[in-house]
Symmetry: C2
Subunit: 652 residues, 2 copies
């Protein structure tokens, strides 16, 4: 018998959410007192805890449960690595400079914003009702002011064609698909320059002309060591750290495929003009998985465990037909019908879905969108984006879930290598020579090192698989450590890359969690699930008076021992105000210590969303909260264990 809560009494109000996040220090522009730097943010206590909790769950959900191989690799990277990978040549955006002020704009944004503003002005001049302004459009209007000027019909058609082509997406600049796809990716610099001149595209902020587009590499540059002779880059993604360690990882996994490596870490992109809050930043934490799979066998051993998981898919055919209605379907059916190409891809779609739901993403606003054939790189067989809806539209959570060829670069590594004096071998061992060779070839690196050691002592004894022993001398066999460059493997594993930009997920989760009380729009609430909520329970003594101290300490200590992260708020303000503050912080539970607590050792328990209040003995309440936070019970059951509080004192 819990209270009903209307979370949609008020429409979503982004400025109100942003004010809350800033006021409560979820995050804030970094270096604010130095004027700030676009695209750099500091996470405060609730944001950091929320992020840490999401990461902990990600680690549990993916690394621990799937037995992935975790990595933590260098951010600072010597230039040759990114020269080989193609990042130095192609990890870039087109930029244009304002001819007078020197301000720099992203070329694709310029084209899109100016043309859209002109089309909007045209519609206004024609007296056409504008489409209801979405959050998205509001933002663009800000970027390029609309003036009501009518355009020629053919000009309108031309603009629309350019924008449609821009929307139809990419020949990606960066072939490894690591670069997020943006509009106008199928335009070259010359094409964009042509557009600027033909349509007189100017910087909307100053109305000045712009110069010829130039490629701007998005990697931050640096220099390693004191001589200045070793240029370096900050990695723009963590993937290289996985691929460069592939041989070691394969060894670690006893030479077997499939397996996955996983890494959580910072990456850096020197965005030209970052503007969208946490959605596009210059420094970000990623959680990346590389799952290596045999291209001939993409079954997944645990596929049956997810077969019945229902997800929302927006597949290629639906998009081609111009429909936007996605279908709800089980993963099993989607793979059986060939909508998702194989079990492994389907397995990860399901696991990502489960993870995002677990941390509190609204399933109604989560879908998987298949890439169109022309969006995919040539090597990709199938590609899906996990997209979450927020006030800017559908936003990718990270890299697309694409099957791609790994190891496009030659692998260079060191190996113990056996070399035979074939002549001596034949002479000495006659018909056994073949068995001997096979036996040594079957040895792993460790065994070779052992044999090498024995040879250094004068002789090595080896045992064939049939149990026959042979004594080898250094004249017959030498074992040497060699550098090997290998561009063809027996097979090249395919790679599936489920990756999250944590800032994007975190911000969208905050949007999904935010609502205002029906009776008072100013009272914002973040309904974060206990699993990820920064603080699990607030301890609220009636006042900061000393008589409450022993109880506050006792309750704190009990929660600490139960492993529940609690905070005390004994600030000098009403209990209602303290609860309101913690609604904004997303704290799911609150316990109040008052004079009754001192007398009877009872405590009231308040649930954030419903504001329900229950009462019980201190130990009972601690037990119920522990069960709630650990996900053993829901609030309904808590209400069965604790009677409603009918206190004389109305505390909200």
């Amino acid at each position: 018998m819990t209270s009903t809560v209307n979370k949609t009494a008020h429409p979503f109000d982004k400025p109100r959410l942003e004010a809350l996040l800033n006021r409560r220090f979820f995050y804030a522009p970094a270096f604010e007192i130095y004027g700030g730097v676009a695209g750099l943010y500091d996470y405060g206590p609730p944001g950091s805890s929320l992020q840490a909790n999401i990461i902990a769950e990600w680690r549990k959900h993916f690394i621990v449960e799937e037995h992935m191989l975790e990595l933590d690799t260098s951010i600072m990277t010597p230039a040759p690595v990114f020269e080989t990978s193609g990042h130095v040549a192609r990890f870039a955006d087109w930029m244009v400079k304002d001819a007078k002020t020197g301000d720099v704009l992203r070329a694709d944004h310029l084209v899109k914003n100016v043309l859209e503003a002109r089309l909007a002005g045209d519609r206004e001049a024609r007296g056409l009702a504008a489409a209801p302004p979405t959050e998205d459009k509001k933002k663009k209007k800000k970027a390029a002011k609309t003036t009501a000027i009518k355009l020629e019909d053919e000009v309108v058609a031309e603009y629309e064609a350019i924008l449609a082509q821009a929307g139809a997406l990419p020949l990606l600049l960066y072939p490894l698909q690591a670069r997020r796809s943006g509009p106008l990716d199928n335009y070259s610099g010359a094409d964009i320059w042509e557009l600027c001149r033909k349509h007189n595209l100017r910087n909307p902020d100053t109305d000045n002309e712009v110069g010829e587009p130039q490629l701007f590499n998005l990697m931050f540059t640096s220099s390693i060591g004191p001589t200045g002779q070793h240029p370096g880059y900050l990695r723009p993604e963590t993937a290289q750290g996985h691929f460069l360690n592939f041989s070691r990882l394969l060894d670690f996994n006893n030479g077997r495929i499939p397996f996955a490596s996983a890494q959580i870490g910072r990456s850096f992109r020197n965005e030209i003009s970052p503007r969208a809050g946490l959605l596009r930043v210059r420094e970000f934490t990623m959680a990346e998985i590389e799952h290596y799979v045999d291209p001939e066998d993409k079954r997944h051993a645990r596929f049956n465990e997810v077969r019945d998981v229902k997800v929302v898919l927006l597949d290629r055919h639906v998009q081609e037909a111009g429909k936007s209605s996605a279908q709800e379907i089980t993963i099993g059916e989607a793979v059986d019908k060939g909508i998702i190409a194989n079990e492994t891809l389907g397995y990860f779609v399901a696991r990502i879905y489960q993870f995002l739901l677990k941390i509190g993403i609204n399933p109604q606003r989560l879908r998987f969108r298949q890439h169109m054939a022309n969006e995919m790189a040539h090597y990709a067989t199938d590609c899906w984006d996990a997209e979450i809806h927020n006030s800017t539209g559908w936003t990718e959570t990270g890299h697309p879930l694409v099957v791609r060829q790994a190891l496009k670069e030659p692998i260079v590594f060191e190996r113990e290598v056996a070399e035979w004096d074939k002549k001596t071998l034949g002479k000495t061992f006659k018909q056994d020579a073949g068995v001997i060779q096979k036996t040594v070839e079957a040895m792993d690196q460790e065994q070779l090192v052992k044999v090498k050691g024995e040879l250094a002592q004068g002789k090595a004894v080896i045992t064939s698989s049939e149990g026959k022993q042979f004594e080898l001398s250094p004249e017959v066999l030498t074992i040497e450590r060699k550098t090997i460059k290998q561009s063809i493997r027996e097979y090249t594993p395919n790679v599936i890359e489920p990756s999250f930009g944590l800032g994007r997920v975190l911000y969208t989760l905050l949007e999904h969690s935010f609502w205002s009380r029906e009776q008072d729009v100013e009272r914002g609430v973040l309904s974060l699930p206990p699993l990820v909520a920064p603080t699990k329970v607030l301890i609220v003594p009636l006042s900061a008076r000393e008589e409450f101290d022993p109880l506050v300490k006792e309750v704190s200590s009990k929660f600490r021992k139960a492993g529940i992260f609690a905070r005390v708020d004994d600030s000098n303000t009403s209990i209602g105000k303290r609860y309101a503050r913690n609604d904004e912080l997303g704290t799911p539970y609150g316990v109040t210590l008052d004079f009754a607590s001192v007398q009877n050792r009872t405590m009231t328990l308040r649930e954030r969303d419903t504001m329900d209040q229950r009462i019980g003995s201190i130990d009972e309440v601690v037990g119920v909260v522990t069960d709630l936070v650990n996900g053993n019970i829901e609030w309904e059951e808590a209400c069965q264990r604790l009677p409603a509080y009918d206190g004389v004192q109305a505390i909200e």
Copy 2:
């Protein structure tokens, strides 16, 4: 009744440990296949998991238990921040260049290595028995070859004086104490240049002369944004991120002190010639705490909880007396006697001690060393280093635990500010004017915003602390948001900085955990505590035959549900070899599934250090392992719950 284990049968063998760590991919030089880069390392699966487990425990031990305010701030930092803080001018080492090859050397290392090598050569020439070579000395000998040449007596005395002075430590170059103190810090560039010329100090690798010492700033430089006009640095420590957010943190804490902020993150130092493995690297993860305390009141609310913790202290007086024997003492006594300056400092010494023990550091090799008066910056009242002993000697774990003044830079922030028309105020309210002013002055920012809103509507009603109400008009009071630059606070909090360089702690922990089996020196073991061990239990089926599959899945799933990180090793090698491999990986427990398991649903349990084997039903063994890993029982108790395994089959 457990087997006795002799962990010190073989002396510590560093190359053997290093080979193990590399072979098992705890960590490896980064970009190895591109030739590597000094001072950059990649952590492989066991190293990453170990690090993640240490961090999780750190977060629990400090952030959660002490209610610290967590932060996650930007690494990329605009130049003005580090200009103000003094890092641009002073976060530097002296370097010298080889006059012919251009190779760069750290000036202090050059002086120290060359002089020590000459003194060693002198001792050899004089036929004096060299001191037994410690690991430390071996390393230095490698750096500068010793030749047996006798020196004049006065030259010996002079060299010894230089080295003694170098050892006596610093006028730190970097006054905020963030720069680790190094030898020769009390020499200026001119002094070092003078030394080089007077004593003909040459590059020991080439015997070439060196050029004049130059300051080399250790911060990696970069450039933010596309214009190239905004230089940036990668932070060399996380402290600035704390201090820049101090006002927000104080607000978050309801304006109260003491409180602590905490942050785990990467920092970067462009070391001139990093050489000591994980102990001195160019990119590292730090866990930093800044605890802000009232300089007039350094008591700590939870001091009594640690009063009886015994630690080993090497205090100033013992060092002055030239003794190196540290004393074991309780924290309570140390503070009572004034050996440790105050409760807060003592509290953190105890908590650090508890943390390091929990993760497996050997208490015999852990001490706290007090800085000598001349080691401390002028503002410091007391300063302690947590030092852990490893094969290179006593190594600081991170920053010293120093009390320092925070906020040496002026704070700039925005605030709602009340401004009065004093004339109108006096005229209107007469003798109440003072009460009214006091009432508004006592308001916090939220209340001021509320009053501001009411004033915008025409009037605001305020209530004095005596309950008297006054109606104010915009003519009397205006409230405006203003940028405030403040260099003096009511008081400047002192800061205590307990900080860890995680790589150092991790490497030293690996050293403390490493030993070889008495019967076979080749069989290395890492006795990591279950709390931090990368994998908690290894599941070993007798072979990869299909008949074991259902059991392997069942046991895996049971451990997964119990929250225990398990791995299966069904590789095609003997069970003994698989256990040996996992001894190297530090996995504390192993369970074996054999034909008896299939028939009787039993499993054997093996303990890593003792190699004891017990047997029980699958569920019993899972239960015992869960209790062991969660720290509820010790191995002795496990042996009471499970009988010894007297299997026919000897599996090691």
